[in-house]
């Protein structure tokens, strides 16, 4: 993790966005920028996302569960393998999530900026305590 800050002071993270709906991606980008983070992406395709996980320096990822009809889980697995924390953002709610990931933080669309901030705080704490 490139940022050492915690909780409210947490900022300056490089966040990968995986989201296939342009307007939603745009909103998330704005929110993250307003929270003081940098945005990597957004990407709307699985292959592109995997490529970015592999090549780019990323501190955190926000993943839409379904991107263009495909499950985002391969990207989640790649992030997990590298110890990079991630948050799911979905319109399906936790019931639509694969059981293997059901204890991961979820943002239920639509969500507010402070919910996003809290979720980022949680996953960063969690990954640090490991």
């Amino acid at each position: 993790m490139s940022a050492e800050q915690r909780g409210d002071s947490l900022c300056g993270l490089r966040v990968l966005l995986v989201e296939d709906e342009m307007m939603v991606a745009l909103l998330l980008e704005t929110m993250l920028t307003d929270l003081g983070h940098q945005v990597a992406g957004p990407v709307a395709r699985l292959e592109k996302g995997l490529e970015m996980v592999e090549r780019e320096a990323i501190d955190l990822a926000v993943l839409d569960v379904n991107i263009n009809g495909r499950d985002v889980y391969p990207i989640a697995a790649a992030l997990e393998a590298r110890g990079i924390p991630f948050i799911f953002a979905t319109g399906y709610g936790s019931a639509g999530l694969h059981p293997a990931y059901c204890d991961r933080p979820i943002l239920q669309k639509p969500y507010r900026s402070d919910e996003l901030k809290a979720a980022i705080g949680r996953v960063c704490d969690r990954s640090r305590s490991r």
Binding site: M22, N66, G91, G96, K109
Partner: protein, 529 residues
């Protein structure tokens, strides 16, 4: 006094009688023996499985005539529906008699009618002297037929119901001899037993037929299984469910018919029904003969007379279709929820971006216009149940409001395509931003301005590229935007993110030119009919 007792008395009495009497007695004994033989023969005829009903009735009637020394006779059966006696067998009568006495109601002027009414034997020694026939046309019919005496014996079931009537007719005056009526009673008993058995057999047969008809036409699978886990019986609907011919089910172990896996699935329910419990369940059964299907099952214990449970009866209905519909509905609901949530997030995004940095009426109008553009694309997609949208219709829909407003010339040219819902939503917003910009600052803001939208496809249909060009001309001189507004961002993003394509914006002094390149992946485009 019974027949055998009477014989004993006669034999004891024979010790001190004269030769003539003795001879007479011997004849009587011989006659009785013939009568007993006759009764036995009739008995045998009636119990034989291959005997025809008419032959048995004729045999009984022949025996009655022989035993009573009558000249004629008939047997009638009671028609339960009408309550009258109907001729079933006769000997010695001609048409006038047969048609006159074809149906006899209780109490009607006939010996059998009187016997039917009283449920007792009626003996008429002389028809001319009988009260029954006094002044009755029936008397003339009898005399015409040569009948002088008659007696009718009701055939009564073990439950006391009258089943029919046995009548013997005499050409001369007749008073029943000693023993004659007892013999007739024996014969009548035999005849009644025979009729009762036939009636029970008939009832059983019609019940079996009814059961067979019902179970064979039933769409529900029915089966009876025994405690040793074999099929006792099954109907065709069950055989169809199992995917195994009916003749390969009956008598075989359940596990052999449905397979190990399916049998293990139902095993816990079998254990319960064999304990006497009624069981109802739904399960997806992996039959060995075909692919799994969902079934609704009811088990009822099969109780014997001693209340022991010898097996169970199962009714099985295929509910695969219903289950599929339920799953489809569940999927649709979840999909709908997802779509609504995504749409709300989109609206949230539009609101955040429209309302930040601008103020007042301007931002409110922009917000409304963007929502309406989004909503129109939804309308277009709703028409195809969210399968896709025609590119041409999408363009016309976004541009039409501007065309009708001031009659500005618009050209829309290119082969029509159906595009993915997600592509349509993004492109719809991008086109809205282009059109709005043109109406505010570009070619659509002045008289004489023109917008020309053309597109084509390069390369093979499957992996070609859609090239769409938006070209404005005749408007005011173009100045490059100082600030990257929301509209511009949307235009660029819609293509680079969602469509995986490229977009180039050229702020040429003669008019804005926007060129888009969208790779046509297999799944993302379909030809419009």
């Amino acid at each position: 006094m019974g027949y055998h007792q009477r014989m004993m008395v006669m034999v004891q009495d024979s010790s001190d009688m004269g030769e003539e009497t003795r001879q007479c007695l011997e004849e009587r004994i011989a006659a009785d023996q013939r009568a007993m033989t006759r009764l036995l023969e009739v008995g045998h005829l009636c119990v034989r499985a291959d005997s025809r009903f008419e032959d048995c009735l004729a045999g009984i009637l022949e025996a009655a005539i022989a035993l009573t020394g009558a000249d004629k006779g008939n047997i009638q059966l009671l028609d339960v529906a009408s309550g009258s006696l109907v001729l079933a067998a006769q000997r010695g009568f001609d048409k006038p008699f047969l048609s006159f006495f074809a149906n006899v109601r209780p109490g009607e002027a006939a010996t059998c009618g009187a016997a039917l009414k009283t449920a007792k034997r009626i003996v008429v020694e002389d028809v001319r002297q009988s009260e029954i026939f006094e002044g009755q046309p029936a008397l003339d019919v009898l005399i015409e037929a040569g009948v002088r005496a008659v007696y009718s014996t009701p055939l009564i079931s073990s439950a006391g119901e009258i089943l029919g009537m046995l009548s013997t007719h005499f050409d001369t005056l007749h008073r029943p001899r000693e023993g004659e009526l007892q013999l007739t009673d024996l014969l009548a008993r035999q005849a009644a037993d025979y009729l009762e058995r036939k009636r029970a057999e008939e009832a059983l047969r019609s019940l079996a037929t009814e059961l067979r008809q019902t179970t064979h036409t039933l769409a529900t699978g029915l089966t009876h299984c025994s405690r040793d886990l074999r099929y006792v019986w099954a109907n065709p609907a069950y055989a169809e469910l199992a995917g195994v011919p009916l003749e390969h089910i009956v008598g075989r172990p359940i596990v052999d018919v449905m397979g190990e896996e399916a049998f293990e699935t139902i095993r816990p329910y079998i254990d319960r029904v064999l304990k006497g419990e009624r069981v109802e369940y739904e399960a997806e059964l992996p039959w060995s003969a075909h692919s799994p299907n969902w079934i609704h099952v009811v088990y009822a214990p099969y109780e014997e007379h001693d209340a022991s449970i010898s097996g169970w009866v199962a009714s099985v209905t295929d509910i695969s279709e219903r289950k599929r519909a339920e799953q489809r509905q569940q999927l649709l609901l979840s999909e709908l929820n997802h779509r609504v949530k995504n749409t709300l997030a989109t609206v949230q995004s539009i609101a955040v971006h429209t309302l930040t940095g601008s103020s007042g009426m301007d931002s409110r109008e922009s917000f409304e216009a963007r929502l309406i553009a989004l909503s129109r694309t939804h309308d277009l997609l709703a028409r195809t149940s969210w399968e896709g949208a025609s590119l041409r219709e999408l363009l016309l829909q976004e541009l039409d409001p501007f065309r009708s407003a001031d009659g500005a010339p618009l050209t829309v040219e290119g082969p029509d395509f159906e595009i993915w819902p997600k592509t349509a939503l993004a492109l719809g917003l991008a086109l809205h931003e282009l059109a709005t910009n043109a109406a505010k600052h570009g070619a659509l803001s002045t008289v004489g301005g023109k917008v020309c939208v053309t597109w084509d496809i390069s390369g093979p249909l499957e992996e070609g590229t859609l090239r769409l060009k938006w070209r404005e001309s005749g408007g005011p001189p173009v100045k490059k935007a100082e600030r990257r507004g929301f509209g511009l961002t949307v235009i660029e993003r819609s293509l680079s993110l969602e469509l995986d394509g490229r977009v180039e914006l050229d702020f040429a002094p003669t008019g804005l030119v926007c060129e888009m390149e969208i790779p046509l992946r297999n799944a993302e485009r379909r030809h419009v009919g």
